[in-house]
């Protein structure tokens, strides 16, 4: 390998490493944010939500009993509505499992609604899957 080429590669590798350590981490896209070991929504509680996320939070708060019933039944229009707020993840089962886990682990409806809204905001820059 020519010397110049090797030094260029090394410089590139250093630059990539630096970028990875200094830049803000990219949002978890696809279904990664719903993975069981995902860190969850990064936004701090009380942080400003986008208009869409606020709309979703209000929906969850207002309809949480029907949404809860849909989550138990694993189907229904309330579940569809919340799932459709995460179009970048095409795997409905992964989303369902995350919603169910979130519901089971939160006793306060407001916390549950906020968590879903933050989850939505944390992925709003994600590209939609190609169909």
């Amino acid at each position: 390998m020519p010397l110049v080429g090797a030094s260029q590669l090394a410089a590139l590798a250093v630059a990539v490493l630096q970028a990875a350590t200094t830049a803000t981490p990219a949002p978890p896209c696809g279904c990664a944010q719903f993975a069981p070991d995902a860190a969850g929504a990064e936004t701090e509680a009380g942080a400003a939500l986008s208009a869409n996320a606020r709309r979703l939070r209000d929906f969850v708060l207002f309809s949480h009993r029907r949404l809860g019933a849909d989550l138990v039944q694993r189907q229904g229009p309330w579940l569809d509505t919340v799932a459709s707020a995460f179009p970048h993840c095409a795997d409905d089962q992964v989303k369902l499992a995350w919603f169910r886990q979130a519901l089971a682990s939160t006793s306060d409806t407001r916390v549950f609604a906020e968590r879903i809204a933050q989850q939505s905001d944390s992925s709003r820059a994600c590209p939609l899957p190609v169909r």
Binding site: S63, R65, R66, P77, R100, A104
Partner: protein, 631 residues
């Protein structure tokens, strides 16, 4: 050229002289000439957008009550004056933007109708309109009919509103357009009724998302919502929205009987599709379900979907469970037993039981029964237990099999042969609105009845005589169950020919009954209704009397036929010492949606013994329609 015509032309010319002229394809003069040549002021779309209706003398008058709805001084009475004012504004740059922002539907239609098809950005210059329109991302619309309350037969007439449909999967976020009266808290009952009947409440439209309506109607009020796709083109939906913007804030007074929610909703659809003539049949009274029938007849209704009443769905779930399981679900929902008490049950049985407990607990919260915080904690515990289960409780329950417009029309005309005391008579009946517990069910809520203005006359021996006027009867006989124990009740105001010691006399009575009903299996319901009746009439010694009444009924209501047996015992406790007993049976066979055959028999001891047999053909007609009124 009329004076009005001249003034409009002169006003526009003045504007054109002192402001830079925009590049219009046609001049004001050309457009005014076109308006007259093509009688554009009589165009169905213009008539619909301005809400002109024909008066008795054949002239037109707009239903809009706010002067701000008109650009011309005579606009309320003159479609032509209003149109010329709009055309003049279209050609006057200073007024044009105002026309576009205040009356965007008129503006868009008029431009298209006059052939102004060049590029135009006037609507883009309306920020408030743009923000409002952004809340309606869909280009399809549906109309939603809210059926009656479960325990309130007086809501039989229903309610309608519009939904602007978002894409599939997101439909609960769809915005709705709901027209209602803006009432004020300081209005007392009398003012409320008076303003509702004679005008005084401004009619306003609000735009809450559909899930909020679902919560109100299906959960809190326990009503089914029937959602019908409207066969409107995207351009028509846009016109509907733009016209809603023009009329949404106090343009019309609200009237309970005629210009109500259903009428205004239909008028919005009429503005979108004026040639369908949707409003033609509505004059004195608008019954919401009749507007649905009109849309069906005009071919404007598409796919139908039911959002079922939550309390009714809970009753359905309860019926699927054995009584001990329903009782266990009740105890869990009420906090009298722990969720863990179901742990030993088979998974499917446990799933159904917990589902019922959850839904029942949810209804208790909606009805504000018990401590709200405690109820929510119980629901949370049930939810966590259900989420831990391996399988759900099965498919959700289905909605009603029939749509509201499948039901018979509300009005009634009946002719029958009556035999009483060995005499044959002709029996004639009319009702402004009637649905009884003896009517077959399709399209109506079971166990609820309402009759409004129902006179019966007899013709025999060359004489016509009034037999009875049932002014108002309202009855609810919802059966009790393990979870629910609603009161069965009945109120009736009627004037009837009744037997007294010295013969027959007319008497007016007001009766109220309250008791219980039980389901004996299938559609068979037994009710016991003790009550009291205040009677007035010349047959009573003191012209007034108070009676205790016991009414026991056995009813069977199905889709093709129904049967009702009543045993009524009446004993006066003040003003008379009379005692009456009656045993009556009515069977009704549905021949078509609006035609039924009824056979009735009665045996009375009041005080003389008397038997009666009636065979009658009952024809249904539009609610509150008079027999001589054209449809």
């Amino acid at each position: 050229m009329t004076l009005l015509h001249f003034v409009a032309l002169a006003a526009a010319c003045l504007h054109l002289c002192f402001t830079p002229a925009p590049a219009f394809a046609a001049s004001l003069h050309d457009d005014v000439a076109r308006v007259d040549a093509e009688r554009i002021d009589q165009d169905a779309q213009w008539i619909a957008l301005l809400h002109y209706r024909a008066r008795r003398d054949g002239s037109l008058e707009s239903e809009a009550d706010s002067p701000q709805f008109f650009m011309a001084g005579q606009g309320k009475q003159s479609p032509r004056a209003e149109l010329l004012a709009a055309v003049a504004a279209l050609h006057a740059p200073e007024e044009r933007q105002g026309l576009a922002c205040r009356f965007p539907a008129r503006y868009e239609w008029l431009r298209a109708r006059l052939g102004h098809d060049g590029p135009d950005s006037a609507l883009d210059g309306c920020p408030a309109l743009s923000v409002w329109l952004a809340g309606f991302p869909g280009r399809q619309a549906s109309i939603v009919f809210a059926s009656s309350y479960l325990e309130s037969p007086s809501s039989t007439f229903g309610h309608t509103f519009l939904r602007i449909v978002r894409q599939s999967g997101n439909e609960l976020l769809s915005p709705t357009i709901n027209y209602a009266a803006r009432t004020e808290a300081r209005d007392g009952d009398l003012a409320f009724v008076s303003k509702g009947l004679f005008g005084g409440f401004p009619g306003v439209a609000d735009e809450l998302p559909f899930y909020r309506r679902l919560r109100t109607y299906t959960e809190i009020e326990g009503r089914d919502l029937h959602d019908y796709a409207l066969a409107l083109e995207p351009g028509e939906v846009r016109r509907l929205l733009l016209h809603t913007w023009e009329t949404k804030d106090g343009i019309f007074d609200y009237y309970f009987l005629d210009e109500n929610c259903a009428y205004r909703t239909l008028a919005l659809i009429d503005a979108a599709r004026p040639h369908a003539g949707l409003l033609r049949r509505f004059h004195a009274v608008t019954v919401p379900v009749d507007t649905i029938r009109t849309l069906r007849a005009a071919g404007l209704l598409g796919e139908h979907r039911v959002w079922p009443s939550v309390p009714k769905a809970v009753r359905g779930l309860e019926a699927e469970l054995a009584a001990p399981d329903a009782a266990a679900a009740s105890r869990i929902a009420l906090g009298q037993a722990d969720v863990a008490t179901t742990d030993g049950l088979a998974p499917q049985r446990q799933a159904k039981l917990l589902r019922l407990a959850y839904e029942y607990g949810s209804v208790l919260i909606d009805r504000d029964q018990g401590d709200r915080v405690q109820r929510k904690e119980i629901l949370g515990a049930i939810t966590r237990a259900r989420l831990a289960q391996p399988a759900p409780a099965g498919a959700p329950g289905l909605g009603p099999a029939f749509t509201p417009e499948d039901g018979h029309d509300g009005g009634l005309v009946a002719i029958g042969a009556l035999r009483r005391g060995g005499r044959g008579l002709l029996n004639l009946e009319y009702a402004a609105f009637e649905h009884t517990l003896a009517d077959p069910l399709p399209g109506y809520e079971p166990h609820a009845a309402i009759t409004l203005l129902h006179p019966s006359v007899e013709l025999g021996d060359g004489k016509l005589r009034l037999r009875e006027v049932d002014w108002l009867t309202v009855q609810s006989a919802i059966p009790s169950s393990t979870l629910f124990a609603p009161q069965a009740w009945r109120v009736q105001l009627r004037t009837a020919r009744r037997q007294y010691a010295d013969g027959e006399h007319m008497a007016t009575s007001l009766a109220y009954h309250a008791g219980k009903a039980w389901q004996l299996g299938g559609n068979l319901v037994f009710s016991v209704l003790p009550g009291a009746s205040i009677d007035t009439g010349s047959g009573l010694p003191h012209r007034a009397a108070l009676a205790g009444v016991l009414r026991n009924s056995l009813g069977y209501q199905a889709s093709a036929w129904s049967l009702q047996l009543d045993m009524v015992t009446e004993k006066y406790i003040a003003g008379s010492r009379l005692r009456r007993q009656a045993l009556q049976a009515n069977a009704m066979l549905r021949l078509s949606r609006n035609l039924a055959l009824t056979i009735g028999a009665a045996q009375r001891q009041s005080p003389r013994r008397e038997g009666e047999l009636l065979v009658s053909l009952r024809w249904r007609q539009r609610s509150l329609r008079l027999p001589w009124e054209a449809d």
